[in-house]
């Protein structure tokens, strides 16, 4: 297609003439535009951080450091603390990472380690990628009407008989940490699987051949050679998945139950920073409450920025070409 255009130009009269002043002007303005938008990218991120930080700072200095370490959110007395939300964000993302990470890595092994005929591998890969394409609000809906009724009897059975274990110490009435974590893990699984696949694929074929040549079984090769070699990339995949879980909003706002409690129980309702923002921001009082929410947004921004940047750096270092993703 492009070649045709090329030929068309070759027949034209503009061929091998010096650029006209018009051309030069156009060239300069086009290049100026591209530079302007490059700067705009930097400006945009700075502006987002500046704007949210600017709104947060006065409130944060009013509320003090105890904002991060207390657990009451009471707008009628202007008392704000987001410890349960910070805990909920980290805890739910961590649990989701355990689950989604395990499945994601296993699937990456399954796809890359010659278990499957090419066609099946292709289908499985696409299914996993489609999982990521489903909007989180649809997962939320599915969570409310399909997942919760499904897991409630199991959860309440566990609570009944194993209630002394802190993880099962409450009943699952409906919304709660477990449904939110399950949906979160489905959502980060594709990220983990895709980035880990890259890590496995980046291992030179000779490495595996050498392992097999030593007489290892398939799984000895995978566990002792492939996994350690790919570990940097896999770790990066986990960190990126963690970052994705931290920032996710809708699935949590719909499923986590929005309760300011510090809890270990999988079945108790909890809250996360993103869910707090989604639920409270529209009705927050002008003044300290809005400022407190902005501070919460800042905390979230900070956590996700650190995690995502760390993940990107790890992946870029560990897998040659991995930074392209």
């Amino acid at each position: 297609m492009a070649d045709n255009k090329f030929l068309g130009n070759a027949g034209g009269r503009t061929l091998s003439k010096p650029p006209t002043p018009g051309d030069i002007f156009f060239d300069k303005s086009f290049r100026f535009l591209t530079r302007a938008f490059t700067w705009a990218t930097v400006f945009l991120l700075t502006f987002i951080v500046y704007k949210i930080g600017g709104e947060a700072l006065p409130a944060f200095s009013d509320l003090g450091i105890k904002f991060l370490f207390t657990s009451t959110w009471n707008s009628s007395q202007d008392v704000y603390g987001i410890l349960p939300q910070i805990w909920g964000t980290l805890y739910s993302s961590f649990l989701a990472l355990l689950l989604g990470g395990f499945f994601g890595i296993t699937i990456a092994i399954f796809i890359t380690q010659d278990f499957l005929p090419y066609r099946v591998e292709f289908v499985l890969k696409n299914i996993i990628e489609l999982l990521a394409a489903i909007p989180s609000v649809v997962y939320g809906l599915w969570g409310i009407y399909v997942l919760i009724p499904l897991i409630r009897p199991v959860a309440n059975f566990l609570h009944e008989y194993l209630g002394w274990i802190p993880f099962f110490s409450t009943r699952l009435s409906g919304l709660g940490l477990l449904p939110a974590v399950l949906v979160l893990s489905i959502m980060i699984l594709p990220t983990v699987a895709a980035v880990s696949q890259d890590a496995f694929k980046a291992i030179p074929h000779k490495t595996k051949e050498a392992a097999f040549g030593m007489g290892t079984t398939r799984w000895e090769a995978i566990l002792r050679v492939m996994l350690p070699t790919a570990s940097g990339g896999i770790f990066g995949a986990l960190v990126l998945g963690f970052g994705r879980a931290l920032g996710e909003t809708m699935a949590l706002a719909m499923l986590v139950g929005s309760m300011s409690t510090l809890t270990l129980s999988f079945f108790s309702p909890a809250d996360t920073i993103s869910a707090l923002l989604a639920n409270t921001f529209p009705e927050a009082n002008v003044g300290l409450e809005t400022g407190a929410l902005m501070s919460a947004a800042c905390v979230l921004l900070l956590i996700t920025l650190i995690v995502n940047v760390a993940g990107a750096v790890i992946v870029a270092k560990a897998t040659p070409g991995g930074d392209k993703r």
């Binding site: 009435s173 919304l175 929005s258 309760m259 309702p269 639920n279 529209p282 927050a284």
Partner: protein, 344 residues
Amino acid sequence: MKLKSLFNVALSAAVAASFMVVGFATAGTTKITGAGASFPAPIYSEWFKDLAKQNNGEIKVDYQSIGSGSGIKNFIGHTVDFGASDAAMKQSEIDQVPEGVQLLPMTAGEIVLAYNLPGIEGLKLPRDVYPEIFLGNITKWNDAKIVAANPGVELPDTPITVVVRSDKSGTTFGFTGHLSAISSDFQSAVGQGKMVQWPAKNMVKGKKNDGVSSAVRQTPGAIGYTEYGFAKLSRLPMACLENKAGKFVCPGPEGGAAALANAVLPENMIVFINDPAGDASYPIATFTWMLFYKKNKSAELATALRKMVEYCLDEGQKIADKAGYIPLPESVVEKVRAASNNIQ
């Protein structure tokens, strides 16, 4: 600071330019945007649909059911033409509106306790029981006190899941006002507010009246407070409550009207009926208000707003009953009509 204002200027310019391109929605119609309470949302949306039909689309009202807290916030922030709240407005909030505020009660409703116990209808809850449920002191459906009030009813040994609002809500304000009026324990432990710290342990939260009703529907053993119409339309069983006179009254138009008869509307149109007297009164009823600016952006808008109020007071009250709300008593309608002239 300079960068910020520069950006804002550039943005406003861009936005203004796009307005000129897309100026098609304005010809001949006055658009009114309102937002707030979810409590009256079903009836409001019905009213506004009918209103648009009646005057051939001259006045179009778009009402967003976002909860009373958000409604007041948007009203103070001038992002809407009118707000709606069933907790009225606090004086401190009214003071934040330089144009002056006119509150008008538009309809009234009952707050009911909807529950999810398959096969059990018309559960009776005495005055000393339901505050205890919401305090988290009564935690099982077969608690002796509930059993005693419901002879012959087979109550299951399931834990009670309390459903409350996750957002700032006028319904919560009305409900906690009532509970504080009838239980001193509740008053000291929780108190009245649009959003309170509920002490109950086994608890689920729902957003807006919709969310509470929906959570009750989906949670076996749940009980939650919601507007009568929501429970009626979603076919949830509702508890009959013991009123001040010691009679059990089930939710319904008669009980609501009897409760409303207790209300005397003061000059500022704000009155709460926390514990109405009378044998037939349903114990938890509340007015719900629309919030207007006394001085509006344009005379055209003010005229449209007054027309809208007139419709609600006249035609609107006729369908209140069937929609699960209590029509305003005639005396109240007169006062509201007079006050609506303050919308200019």
